[in-house]
Amino acid sequence: MTAYTATVTVRLKRGVLDPEAETTQRALERLGFELEDLRSADRFELDLDAESVAAAEERVDEMAERLLANPTIHDYEVEVTER
């Protein structure tokens, strides 16, 4: 078994409205910053032991499918590194 850290990034699918991001962008603009667009994402870091990177990825992928992301509105990415 090897110790890994998996990073799951969950973001809204392209085209799905993100009112919080729009509000955040407007707040930055009110502070005088200039920017073209702002996108937000949730990032989860999971420490786990697995036989291989592939095994860790598979397990975390299922976690993302079943809980961390909602496939109706989200895309997600999983990145696994040795810890």
Partner: protein
Amino acid sequence: MTVAVIQFGGSNCDRDSVRALSHLGIDAERVWYEDGLPADVTGVMLPGGFSYGDYLRAGVMAARTPIIEAVRDAAAEGVPVLGVCNGAQIGCEAGLTPGAFTINESARFQCERVHVRVENADTPWTRAYDEGDVLSLPIAHGEGRFEANDETYDRLVEADRVLLRYCDAQGQVTDAANPNGSRGNVAGLLGDRGTVAVMMPHPERATLPDLDGTDGAGLLRGFEAALAEA
């Protein structure tokens, strides 16, 4: 008959729901989610509230509790299931109904009266109405914007599974009458079976005559209608 109103940590419309159902002569009781679904239930209501503080996404934590497995099995057997507000979010997160309810277009919590149009009167939940009837109901949510991809939305419309759409007082479904940016102004929809429904407006807050209006009573009577038709 007994309708189980499932209480999760953070539910806050469970008592109101039992009271409204009881007022209509529909036997109802609160069931704590850890106690499991009673074997003899003749209906399940997932009430409004803020289960688990809306952590991660509204409704998702409750949707992953074991009692929801029992609700899914009961729904598949034809037991009527109604999710209201947080219960609607739980229903979608549990896959009882397609799509998702997410953050309002305004990014604000909205507590107001809205009008909804009955889109399909041929369901237990809308038996008391005619298609096109306009109901005045309260909403109170921050995450009520219905989202579905093109395929899912088209499938819902084709199968006549949109139950309620936000509209103006005259019944016109317009952008201006859409309080939260929901796709197609969808305020309520059906699951795979017509006996399963979720909706963001609160019928239990529009049932008792000493509150403001009783337009929601017919929706709750769906529990009776579903049994009568079974």
